[in-house]
Symmetry: C2
Subunit: 342 residues, 2 copies
């Protein structure tokens, strides 16, 4: 199966490692035969090789020089959109980051271009799903290809896959959870005495907060995630702008101290609830009892609780995700497509 | 699809309600067309009706008289084993209870009889899976039929389904969790000051402890569950007798008080770990930090944590299961078979 990668940040490089130099470590991946025929980035250059890009060298070069270099085989200059529209491939992996201001673009256009050409799509970027899920879904159905995005919420922990394959016959009536790792880490550190600024800096140094932390701190990332969940699992038709959203900027050390004295803590909780014919989604700092499940989700952990008409609530919790977990979300989607098509 | 039910206790009756008088409540079940052609019990009599047993009347009669009565349509006298061997049906639902002493019998024989005749099997009874999973699996594969058992561990919360469908490419290296609701409830009540005997009585009155509580209290139910998980998910070849097992009988109020003073609690924890070529399984009362996820699993709740080579650990938690959750496990299995065969 031939793939093109759009984006080659932490997740893309971890994925490339798992598919190349580290593949021997994972028994379950031995039958997965993926040839990456192109990698396209906005700031690191591009590589095209119809016989398969040398992934180990691509990773090594970026980790050494911060970008691809002109002496590499297949080094070239092509926009991701042109690649999506013209190259020969079977699946497009969209691994770029969320843009709220641009409403999921340019990733959204890459995905549309691929689907229109009847190519499968795996997206780790939640933007296109948060802003245009139903349109993309219709397009994928028309062209009889798959549109998968397991890693957009809770990394590789199965959420979409679980509802799709394991809750047959159930209608989801409510979802809530802690979906943004960065703010969960920041709130934990602030509870321990750090300032907001110091906690952000730490999260950046640990590699899970973006250089511009506003998507996390202002609740946009969480809003995009609850949006994808609500649209996909509950049939909602909302965008992140319609989520009732409050970030963590106004949470003070005093708030956290006060909570602690009442044997509680503050978490950035996302929720989506069915109300008559529509779905109401919210992101806001919430007082949580220390004996509640959500209180034990510490640091970069995350949790989602799903309530259905027939059973539940059940929860899926991710304790301490790392880049392998995010990359795994993409791999699981690749395997779903690979096993159906090969 | 024609089904026979073996056992008509709490789970069987809840299932019968969901499939009959309550079906209109569940949108996702409208396409499920199951005709129950026989119900066989050890102490409540049997019903056979090739045109479909009247489930509403079966439930009502048992709840009123404690058993089926001779004036009912299809009332008869047939052993479950004979039914499994001779009747015309598509799927056998084994809903009887665990027998450790008899190593999963007589349920094991019912299941074998069905599989040998190339009938699908859904088992809510964990005994046959704990004692003979690999034999049953081979038999089902030979006959090209499904053997499903989602409700044997954590009721309807997807565990087997999740590993099968949502952790593609992952090898499970370790499992641990709290799998027995009754002892979890008892330990919670003892922590609150109740005696072991009182807590058992309460659990019986609430309907989730058996009349003979020894399977729960001595850890046999938990051992059977970790065994099924280890055999199915980790490829182990063990029976409950090979699980290193310690029940909760020796846990004293003083132990619980001591734990509390150290900000800990005691939980009956099950685990299975890969050690070289074999799997080591354990059930034992374990000190758990109050800030640990497991500590927040209260009352009849349960949790399983799954660690794989590629990602995780992830956890699935069931907060407050009731009979609908257990019945749902059976329904999910039925839907899996129904959608593949119809």
């Amino acid at each position: 199966m031939r793939a093109i990668l759009i984006g080659f940040g932490n997740v893309g490089r971890t994925l490339a490692k798992i598919l190349s130099v580290e593949k021997h470590r994972f028994q379950g991946l031995q039958d997965l035969d993926i040839r990456v025929v192109g990698i396209f980035t906005r700031t690191k250059g591009c590589l095209i090789d119809h016989e398969g890009v040398d992934l180990a060298s691509a990773v090594e070069t970026v980790e050494r020089y911060g970008r691809f270099i002109p002496t590499m085989k297949g080094y070239c200059d092509m926009e991701a959109q042109e690649a999506a529209q013209t190259l020969d491939y079977d699946v497009l992996l969209e691994l770029s980051t969320l843009s709220i201001e641009r409403e999921g673009e340019p990733a959204l256009s890459h995905i549309k271009a691929a689907l229109r050409r009847a190519k499968h799509v795996v997206s780790a970027n939640k933007g296109p799903l948060a802003f245009a899920y139903h349109e993309l879904k219709r397009l994928a159905e028309e062209k009889n290809v798959r549109l998968l995005f397991e890693s957009t919420v809770m990394d590789g922990a199965p959420v979409f896959n679980m509802v799709r394959n394991c809750l047959k016959g159930c209608s989801v009536v409510e979802i809530d959870g802690i979906l943004n790792s960065t703010t969960n880490y920041i709130l934990m550190r602030m509870e321990e005495g750090a300032t907001l600024q110091d906690a952000i800096k730490e999260a950046q140094e640990k590699g899970f907060a973006e250089a511009d932390p506003s998507n996390d701190v202002d609740g946009w990332d969480a809003a995009a995630k609850i949006c994808v969940l609500a649209n996909v699992i509950m049939g909602a038709q909302i965008t992140p702008r319609e989520v009732k959203r409050k970030g963590i900027k106004e949470v003070t050390p005093e708030d956290l101290k006060g909570a602690r004295q009442k044997n509680k803590c503050i978490k950035l909780v996302c929720s989506a609830k069915k109300r008559d014919q529509h779905v109401e989604a919210t992101v806001e700092p919430t007082l949580i009892d220390k004996e509640h499940f959500f209180a034990t989700v510490r640091g970069e952990g995350s949790v989602v609780r799903i309530k259905t008409d027939l059973m539940g609530p059940i929860m899926i919790t991710q304790e301490a995700p790392d880049l392998y977990d995010t990359a795994y979300g993409v791999i699981d989607d690749l395997l779903t497509i690979y096993r159906k098509t090969s």
